[in-house]
Subunit: 428 residues, 2 copies
């Protein structure tokens, strides 16, 4: 798509977007991208994919989806905010699932007419993007699938549903045989709802293909995750985070090919001892709340301070790709159960108990040779704030230096964060 000169304003206007405000948003995000990503030294050349992705994020990618819909190659665009909404189901019914904008503050005065000030920035974020009409993903989505995960989202969706057609999935908070069955039923109900939306039945063939395609994406991400164990590490945390963020938005086969190309180059760099940061740079494992585009603040601070993020245990990280769907099912029902079972095993902080997450973090810290762990919650994200105490104890027991950070989408705390992170990197 690069190199074309296309006028996207008619498209944005057709989506009833506020193009003037949207220009401001694109300008600000473009500036951030330049300051954070393009100033990195010695990036793998294949990360040009990311620059292209970022350029087309609100323009070319949207046009591509709308064109595909017009031409009947995809039936509907299904928006989501969470890892628990299985993209295989959407793809198998002829839809495309996209992650919706939630990574920045927008129209806060409007938002606070409907949500408390003390609400998680991610929830205020998607509400503001909608109220301000500046997210082409939200505006082009035919249906938004929410999930009863956290208190704030559960109640926040009640308002969002007054703004967009929504369908809500009920996600268990404990893992038992009974909730496993309940969740399978829930994924079957989603399948019916998506079929109804797209007008296309899920077949064994279409679901098998969707499972394979999504697993291929995860396999590529796993490869990339593994190369980061090298010292020097061949790719930055910032670029790696953006790759996972892209996985929620870009076309799956294109993305998979791009990740494999990046992984190829990274493997060659590892063989040659080339890295994005010097050998011996302090290696940080990130764990915590998800980071939606353009929430790159923390990673940028860590890496500009001379550290390097070598892994992300979070929804925009390993939780997205660590487990594959069993490819062995024969019937549609069996395959839907396989999909459901894979998603139930995401170690989100909504679950109680959730020791699995601690084990994942410590396992990744070992595998990726982390020097320390930074655990971050968005403000007012109760479940991550509360799990931070157990996480700290687990890190201490395993001998990893640990720091908990609470932040939001503003830049107000950037100075303070920088100071704390520099001190942490010096200490580890």
């Amino acid at each position: 798509m690069a190199g074309e000169t296309v006028d996207y304003y008619p498209m944005w206007k057709s989506l009833d977007m506020d193009t003037e405000a949207h220009d401001g948003l694109l300008g600000a995000v473009g500036q951030m991208y330049g300051d954070m990503f393009l100033t990195q030294h010695n990036r793998p050349k294949s990360t040009s994919y990311l620059d292209n992705f970022a350029t087309n994020l609100h323009s070319g990618r949207i046009k591509e989806m709308l064109d595909a819909k017009e031409q009947g190659r995809i039936k509907k665009i299904i928006g989501s905010f969470c890892l628990y909404v299985p993209e295989e189901i959407v793809a198998a019914a002829g839809g495309v699932e996209v992650g919706l904008c939630a990574g920045a503050d927008w129209a806060p005065e409007e938002v606070e007419k409907h949500l408390p000030r003390n609400t998680c920035p991610l929830i205020k974020g998607f509400t503001g993007f909608k109220l301000g009409r500046v997210c082409p993903y939200i505006e082009s989505a035919d249906l938004v699938v929410g999930e009863n995960t956290r208190d704030g989202k559960k109640k926040g969706y009640e308002f969002f549903a007054t703004q967009k057609p929504m369908y809500i999935m009920d996600v268990p908070h404990v893992r038992t045989d009974e909730t496993k069955q309940m969740w399978r039923n829930e994924v079957h109900r989603l399948a019916e709802r998506i079929e109804q939306e797209t007008g296309q039945k899920i077949t064994a063939d279409s679901l098998r293909r969707a499972i394979k395609e999504t697993n291929d994406k995860r396999r590529a991400l796993q490869r990339l995750g593994r190369v980061r164990a090298a010292d020097p590490t061949p790719i930055s945390g910032l670029d790696s985070l953006l790759i996972t963020q892209a996985a929620f938005m870009d076309d799956t086969p294109r993305l998979t090919a791009a990740i494999n190309a990046i992984a190829d180059e990274c493997e060659q760099r590892v063989a040659k001892g080339e890295g994005v940061a010097p050998k011996g740079a302090k290696r940080v494992l990130y764990t915590g709340t998800p980071m939606a585009v353009p929430n790159w603040k923390l990673f940028n601070i860590i890496e500009k301070a001379g550290g390097v993020v070598v892994g992300e245990e979070c929804c925009t990280g390993s939780r997205y790709y660590k487990d594959l769907v069993d490819e062995g099912g024969e019937t549609v029902d069996e395959m839907i159960d396989n999909v459901a079972d894979r998603y139930l095993n995401i170690h989100c902080a909504i679950f109680t108990p959730n020791q699995d997450r601690e084990q994942d973090v410590i396992g990744m810290a070992h595998d990726l040779h982390a020097d320390g762990i930074i655990d971050c919650s968005l403000s007012f994200c109760t479940i991550y704030e509360m799990e931070a105490f157990g996480m700290e104890a687990a890190a201490e027991k395993a001998g990893f230096p640990f720091m908990h950070v609470t932040t939001n989408y503003s830049t107000e705390d950037a100075g303070q964060l920088k100071t704390r992170i520099e001190a942490f990197l010096e200490m580890i």
Copy 2:
């Protein structure tokens, strides 16, 4: 129990309580009780029951339960923090269910070693009461039954379970045929767990008796709720709140008799036109988060400012008593299902959607001739903070003046609250 001089220190010490700190707590609560309750004018005489209840709260009532346990009249003491833990089940298995201390800040420095500062005061409260060893209900409980309701409680119980034997119930957040069955199964599992704890099987007779006894308590509370529709209203909101608080802690038949005696006197007062506040005093309906002993701050401010609280739509109010358990079941299984179904119909803000709560509030405001509605959340109680927006819209639509308040257990905001509430009472 009044009038006896009993040395309770040996009992408190046997519970491994910090008696010195506990003395401080009792002194402070006693002072508050005097300032708030005993300064009320023209209370019904039968509220002497409440003064006696308050006097014996941490002493006589605990001794009574421990004595009954020693003598085998009750098998175990089961603690809970929530309306969703069915007391009929506990009673039918020979136990007694008591609400645990959660209505004040205690040992905040200790608490913040385990929970984030930005945690709901109720959750910090019970954690502090435990860490400070100043709640004889917590210390005498053989088992504490928690529930996956809010994010903060769900995660807070993970820590509490390191301090006390706990059993957690999983509560649905949506109402469907499937979750109804799931919740029935959950109540059956609770029954098994309590039977295991008490060593006593639930029989059709014991469960029928427990259902009847608990319904009688609710019928008495309903009677009392109705008399408050009169103008002048015969009993204060403060006394009414304490009655519901007592319902979580006192012996059921004694409490039921006391409430009926208060209701008798109130009915006579209504017939004579006697009230606790002058005819025409501004009538407030309360809705919001529960208020555990000794959280009387808001009601005290409202009533000292010349208003009168005429009803409480909350867990320490109408939700506790508005619905009876169907008394028609024959077998233990049928009766357990009946119990479960009654509890699933509590209109807590954990449910989505939860329009039923709005309907309850507006219905009560009409029935009790409220002049306005005060909706209150404890700080960081996301679900109530978020429902406040819909509640305000519902109140506006129904023509009731509405005020939302966010507060905590400190007295720091008392002045500001007083100013806001005085302005509200003047306006309505």
